[in-house]
Amino acid sequence: MTDVAGLADGPLFGLPLPELWFVLMFAILGTFLFLDGFDFGAGAIFAVLDDDHEREAVLSAIGPFWDGNEVWLVVFGGALFASFPAVYADLFSRHYLLMFAILGALIIRGLAPEMYEQRHDEQWHRWWGRSFVAGSVLAPFFLGAFTGNWLVGSERTVTLVAVVVGLTVVSLTVVSGSAFLGLKADAYLPDVLDQYGVRAVVGYLAGVVATLALLAVELPDGVDALLSVPVVALVVVSIGLAVAYGLAMRRGAYLGALAASGGLTYGLVAVVAIVMYPLVDPASGATVSETIVSTLPLNLMSIGAAILLPLVVTYFVVLYTAFRGPVEPEEAY
């Protein structure tokens, strides 16, 4: 048997599958950045809280969610591996230390909430609190740095673009984290979330401007790429969303603010994807059509994703519905 129902002959239903997988890959990355982003942001805000009850409230808020949110990164890795195997290999080995920095940060972030609750002495809480904050801030920073290097095709690890995009992503996580904590734990936290959120969103916009300026210089046809209609439109929409976010936070409309921060996150990832396309690995000059996996596995993966991703969305709906509304006082981690 060399063929299963003609799946090796051509793309399923004649769809532009390479482009769809390119979009899907960034959509998955964006989903990770939004969902685990508010966990990271909550971790950053954890740093400024002194009171143990406030800190416990933050941990309770993210408790049921963060593990599922983090799996989007696993799915991103898997999707990249399956759809663009050579890019997965080149990109991850090129940014070797950065990849392990991301993983290391995720380890200390992931262990912290589980460990924090195991003992109730001050020393233990202080150290695991630090671990939680460090992991929550460093993971998005390194992830942003990785994305920046990926986009400009840098062979080096420490670059100006990496640092700027890293900081931009960190501020974005504080934007969504403030909204998320407002939604889940407003009653237990000091009345500062809207301040943090608004400052973070201003910082985020500044980061975006700095990133765009750097890209205009670094990318070969930078100015043209950035002045394309979709990029300009996304930047305008992002400014609108940032304003809407600030207003919603001031009014305590946290769900709206969270939605706006989601829009900002997907908008940022969309800009990266648009600027990168048709390349998928700018450092090697590899394009989407050159590096896409061959037709048979591509079709199989597409069928798999078409069945499984709606199911995954259902799981998240069940999870977020079960834990809708603020954390309840007795819901210790």
């Binding site: 299963v4 890795g77 997965y88 290999a89 991850f92 230390l97 991703l309 069940v318």
Partner: protein
């Protein structure tokens, strides 16, 4: 500076050896938790609520630690084995992606409901979440083992040269993914996980039962530990004999499909017939340990035993020796001794199961102190045997990363420097070592804390006999 190839191999070995402990715990606990949850909901009996809540705590920490140590593995193929990933990604990436979407997502989302949601959701959704978490952990194993079995016995592919690189192309997905090896691995691995957890539960429970019944100390919630011991013993009676039975079938399959690995497992260098199986092999010199050769070993052998195992009943069957292969042999000493230790442990667990079952039958399960000690000593034995089995599987297939197609040394990332590899290897040794210590500490603490006391239970059950006793409280 250290060779990046050696460092990458060591790092992958280290990260997988540590990681596998946590999936073994979560996959092994999953069927128990589904059972406890069902009984808790259906009977409302307090003991099942205690069982569910106590073992869920251990499940949750295992799952979290398994997540953070496991994400690393998915990225390591790209970071350290880029040449392998480029060459085999077409076949290998798909199962990993599907594992993430189909299995990991299922467990990670419903884990939130299962661990935190008892008071938030109804019985039905709670039961569904228990099943979903359990199913997710097992589906994870399905896809990981589909990927792994393809590396052991690759099928359904063709080799194509693209831009000067040899790349694996998928031509027959059914041959590639419905690999006969998968069935052997999956049954052996899942049974191993349940057996390992049964031994773990039995060992921990035996400690409290021993202190209470043999030494006469007052133990809080002793009925909880008695129930745990009995349930674990039932699971052990089922899994321990099965593990050896299908292990034997798996071994025969290896002899047919990976003769070089089988020769290493038996330390057979020259092709021979009537090869004995050394049940007990005693090294008489240091060289016997580091370089075992079946012919020179002092041991108790069943004449024709290895031939019999390899062929499925023919003591005269020929076993191909390691010298007859073109490629270098795998590290024979590691494979040979790991295999023997695993098999020895497997038989020991059967003995334990029957011993315990017999004592239960005679009504002396809680009085036989020697049995309790044997169970306590075997608490981590199942996990150890699982590790040894994976060492046989993965070291035994060297030098191949994909059997017969690509050598492990050719799979390493070409641009990786010794410095980079050394930094991460050192980092992982430190971080994973720390994680192991922390995990052990937390699990020990949960065990010492014991199950939730009767005043803390949802169930109105009458059959929690003991009153809370501060004497065995956790030392905060």
């Amino acid at each position: 500076m250290i060779d990046p190839v050696i460092a990458s191999r060591l790092q992958f070995a280290l990260t997988t050896i540590v990681h596998i402990i946590f999936p073994v715990m979560s996959m092994g606990l999953a069927p128990f938790l589904v059972y406890f949850t069902w009984k808790d909901i259906r009977s409302g009996d307090a003991i099942y609520e205690q069982l569910r809540r106590f073992w869920t705590k251990i499940f949750a920490i295992s799952f979290v630690v398994g997540t953070v140590t496991g994400i690393v593995l998915e990225f390591e193929f790209g970071t350290n084995f880029a040449a392998f990933s480029t060459a085999a990604g077409e076949l290998f990436g798909g199962p990993l992606a599907v594992e993430g979407m189909m299995a990991f997502m299922l467990e990670a989302t419903f884990l939130g409901v299962f661990v935190f949601g008892r008071d938030r959701v109804g019985d039905k959704l709670y039961m569904i979440s228990a099943v979903a978490v359990g199913l997710g952990t097992w589906l994870s194993a399905v896809w990981i083992l589909i990927a792994n079995s393809w590396m052991q016995t690759p099928r359904g592919y063709e080799l194509v040269t693209e831009g000067g690189q040899t790349v694996v192309h998928l031509v027959d997905p059914i041959a590639a993914y419905a690999n006969p090896r998968f069935a052997y691995m999956f049954v052996h691995m899942q049974n191993a996980a349940v057996e390992s957890v049964a031994l773990f539960m039995a060992g921990v429970a035996a400690y409290y039962v021993f202190r209470h019944h043999v030494w006469g100390y007052h133990i809080q919630n002793v009925s909880f530990w008695e129930a745990t011991l009995k349930i674990a013993l039932v699971a052990l009676l089922i899994t321990a004999p099965l593990q050896v039975l299908h292990g034997d079938m798996y071994g025969r399959h290896v002899a047919e499909t990976q003769p070089q690995k089988f020769a290493a497992m038996e330390a057979v260098w020259d092709t021979e017939s009537y090869v004995p199986e050394y049940i007990v092999a005693v090294p008489t010199s240091l060289e016997d340990v580091t370089d075992p050769r079946a012919k020179d070993l002092f041991g108790i052998g069943i004449p024709g035993g290895a031939s019999w195992l390899a062929s499925g009943g023919d003591p005269s069957a020929e076993i191909r020796g390691l010298n007859s292969f073109d490629t270098e042999a795998p590290p024979v000493a590691i494979v040979f001794w790991a295999f023997r230790a695993m098999v020895g442990l497997g038989f020991w667990f059967i003995l334990l199961a029957f011993w315990g079952g017999y004592r239960w039958y005679t009504g002396e399960l809680f009085e036989d102190g020697l049995l309790h000690k044997a169970l306590m000593a075997s608490t981590l034995g199942g996990i150890l045997a699982t590790e040894l089995g994976w060492i046989v599987t993965e070291v035994g297939r060297q030098p191949w990363v994909i059997q017969g197609i690509m050598k492990t040394s050719d799979g390493v990332s070409p641009g990786l420097t010794g410095t980079e590899a050394a930094i991460t290897l050192g980092g992982f040794a430190l971080v994973y070592g720390t994680i192991l210590v922390l995990y052990t500490y937390v699990v020990a603490r949960i065990i010492r804390g014991g199950p939730p006391g009767s005043d803390d239970l949802r169930s109105t059950g009458e059959d929690v006999p003991e009153t809370p006793d501060p004497g065995v409280a956790v030392d905060d």
